[in-house]
Amino acid sequence: MAFKRSNVPGEDIKLAMEMTAKRRQLIDEAPATPLVYEYGVNRLAKALHPGFVKAVIAEKAPCSADCVKIVMEPADSGEFPYFRAGQFITLSCRAGDSFLSRPYSIISSPKEALAGKLEIMVQRKGIFSTFLIDEAPVGTGLWLGEPSGDFHHDSIRDRNHILAIAGGSGVTPFLSMMKAIREGSEDFRITLIYGARTRAHIPFDPEEFRGEGVDAAVVLSEEEAEGYMHGFITADLLKKYIDGDTSVFMCGPDAMYRFVSGELETLGFDYSRIRQERNSVGDRKVDEIKVFRLIVHIRDAVYELEAPNNETLITALERAGIPAVVRCRNGSCGFCHSRVVNGEYFIDLKDDFRRSADKKFNYIHPCSTYPESDMEIDIPIMNP
């Protein structure tokens, strides 16, 4: 066949031959105005995901027997990013010889954050929470990682009614969601069931969260009191709150997840409609504590430190004062994605959220990985 468009002999070929000259001419005619490289899309991307933000502790107030509320304000006239109610932020700072980072769910509503106030709840548990509660005075500077996580209501994925089950400081993402519904930045219904030992262990006022689209009830396990349910969060109790349009969100200790999941199973509740906020990966039980040598590469810098087999690699890095990137601390977000140069390690299956190619090419998330031998790893630089 012969390709032919023009009836003028040779015209098609002439046009093809002239393409370059024509392009050159069009470039000549284009304006030499300065380039716009940051458009609205890029500005919004930056506003939603600003990376690390500097903040200071503005206020501290106890809110239960073992929980303290901490209010932060942006430092250096910066601003907090907008987020989805239910998301967490990571706080990082130097504490003594260590450089520590921990994730905390945000209590504030998205609009409160825009107004320059970000509140978290800290439950006394370990080294960082103790530091925040006892040692960090008002005015202490912190780095905040950007809001993260998919523990928020999604209008496509989730049903319109969220049955929220919480224990301990696990109530925080739900407080944010309830405020968000109230201020109009989220549009769904929520029923919170909070499990606590006694009234002294309740870190919020349930009365405050009863209204249009929002309800809160407390179940006390070690105390009977008027206006409170008593016992555990059982199938009988749960089924009162489940309608055909319900997704279950849980945030609290692992023991609560196991118990409530079992109860939901007896009700035949669809597994795919249950979301759990994952807890940090902590120390593990080992028969014998062994301490290994860990060589760490960050760009062209090399560090050598000790890493015991009962602690995650991130804990060893923090203890040695190495500013290591970490966000979720539960293995899922991949922010600390690192290359294993050599060495053996262990990752609990339930904490292994690595990509399949990471397994093939030997990459780990140090926040969920325990050493099983001397190791050499290459980690990304902490670059706030």
């Binding site: 390709f3 098609d12 392009r23 470039i27 458009y39 991307a45 496509i156 990509r355 093939k360 090419f361």
Partner: protein, 510 residues
């Protein structure tokens, strides 16, 4: 250790390819990447029990080991081919177009595809065979032009490749008009238009013909472990060859000396690294608008960049489904769901945030049944925005708007395929132009670089590649490069720029 022969900005496909080429030649090379993993768009992410592919629908140019395509050959030369496990795709696509009532599946393979066209037109096979003969000549001509390093003998061109020359100036629509094929055949051949994202009035016919020929003749593949496997294969190769990759290490400045020659880069934390050669795997908008001091940018670089048109801004809905593909009734891997196959109309309606007129949707389990746990499947739906519609979105409205667009796409797909998906969505992630801008920094969240335009198409760019560079020691490769967008193209363009950089170094050494 603060000096490298070459610094590569960005560990996207182009940057990774470039680094391997440089290192294979025995030079030292540092790749600086702003994100914490390599790949740019060639990556994956995990939500719950699902691992989603971030961008790749299908990869062309790999072919079979015994009959390798050009990209497999390139990967072999770079030393990454053995590190990647490929899955060959069975069928090309399932096209559903509402306006014309099309609903059919097309296979890969020249002959099979030609025969399948008989179901849409009595003489379908004849037209396709004729069309492929034209494509073959275009491919051969491009090969010849490449062999002569862009200086073909006009006599040879006239004698052996007259059809190539004849259609060389035409858009896809002009070429199809000249060929005079029936509408059904043209519509079918236009199906892949959204892989290049320019409408048929502007898209260069040579470019498009070259691409569809590659798809139908060589078939398409996907990497077994998502495109993150490709990126890690390249990273491993770079380490094997003694190269360095620094993550969380954004380059904020390309440094030049008094003579205007590249002399290094500055990272966001202020650290400076010396090098006489930089290969940027990012947008020229960023290179000339931000990374270089304005005195180092010649006027013509601004003119060239202003002359170009930003291409499609990406939007993808990723779904982890708590039912198997079989239970849903989805049999195919690759669906194109269009309101109409008139891509000029489609292109126009994709300028605004409204009803999405076109989507390319993948049900990954139909290519790789093991890609998600038993009884589940992964579906992802992609569309493009052909204008800067997302720039006016306010942060307070952003989450609501992106869910609205996603819900609309899911509904469109359900309607087209007669399936129920929304009841079984266990995980969802939505990537908007903002998301692509966040991870890769591209202006307006474009995922397709500069649009393949009448005067800025494949052959134009290849022929003028030396004329389109301005700063000694600096070359730009990847999706914005001379071979335009797409996985194979971006690797090739990075490798080609690295080859040219090696020649620059050789010349300077003399």
């Amino acid at each position: 250790m603060d000096k490298y022969d070459v610094i590569v900005i960005g560990a996207g496909n182009g940057g990774l390819g470039a680094a391997c080429r440089i290192l294979n030649a025995g030079k030292t090379c540092l790749v600086c990447e702003k994100h914490n993993i390599p790949g740019g768009f060639a990556t994956s992410f995990v939500r719950g029990r699902f691992e989603f592919e971030a961008s790749l629908h299908e990869f062309n140019g790999i072919g079979m080991p015994e009959e390798p395509g050009s990209t497999r050959i390139l990967f072999e030369q770079l030393g990454v081919a053995d590190k990647i496990e490929w899955i060959q795709l069975k069928d090309a696509y399932h096209l559903i177009s509402e306006a014309e009532g099309y609903d059919y599946v097309m296979p890969f393979g020249w002959e099979a595809f030609a025969k399948a066209n008989n179901q849409i037109h009595p003489d379908g096979e004849k037209y396709i065979n004729e069309f492929f003969a034209l494509c073959q000549q275009i491919r051969d001509a491009m090969g010849y032009i490449g062999e002569t390093k862009g200086r073909p003998d006009p006599k040879v061109m006239m004698e052996k490749y007259p059809d190539y020359l004849a259609c060389g100036s035409y858009s896809v629509n002009e070429a199809f008009e000249a060929l005079g094929y029936p509408k059904e055949i043209v519509d079918n051949l236009n199906t892949y238009w959204c892989y290049l994202g320019a409408d048929g009035n502007n898209l260069s016919f040579l470019h498009y013909a070259n691409m569809i020929y590659s798809y139908f003749s060589k078939g398409a593949t996907i990497p077994k472990y998502r495109s993150h496997e490709l990126s890690l294969a390249f990273e491993e190769r770079i380490h094997e060859l003694g190269g360095d990759i620094w993550f969380n290490s954004e380059v904020v400045k390309i440094l030049t000396d008094e003579e205007g020659h590249v002399c290094g880069v500055r990272l966001r934390d202020g650290r400076e690294i010396e090098s006489r050669h930089v290969i940027a795997n990012c947008s020229p908008h960023i290179v000339y608008g931000k990374l270089l001091d304005s005195e180092a940018v010649p006027e013509r670089a601004l003119k060239l960049t202003n002359f170009r048109k930003l291409a499609g801004r990406g939007f993808t809905v990723f779904l982890g489904i708590s039912r198997s593909a079989e239970e849903l009734g989805l049999k195919d891997h690759n669906y194109f769901v269009y309101d109409t196959t008139d891509n000029v109309k489609q292109y126009e309606s994709m300028k605004t945030i409204g009803n999405t007129a076109a989507q390319a949707t993948v049900c990954l389990n139909n290519a790789d049944p093991d890609c998600s746990p038993e009884g589940t499947c992964i579906i992802y739906m992609t569309t493009l925005f052909t204008d800067d519609a997302w720039s006016s979105v306010e942060k307070e409205d952003y989450f609501r708007i992106k869910n609205k667009v996603a819900a609309n796409m899911i509904e469109r797909f359900e309607k087209a395929t007669g399936t129920n998906i929304h009841d079984y969505i266990e995980e969802i992630a939505i990537a908007t132009p903002e998301t692509y801008a966040r991870y890769c920094g591209h202006p307006q969240g474009t995922v397709y670089g500069y649009e393949s335009q009448y005067y800025d198409g494949l052959m134009n760019r290849i022929q003028m590649v030396e004329e389109d560079r301005f700063v000694p020691g600096l070359r730009i490769g990847g999706g914005y490069g001379e071979r335009l967008l797409g996985f194979p193209s971006s690797y090739k363009s990075g490798v080609n720029e690295a080859g040219r950089t090696l020649r620059d170094m050789e010349k300077e050494g003399r």
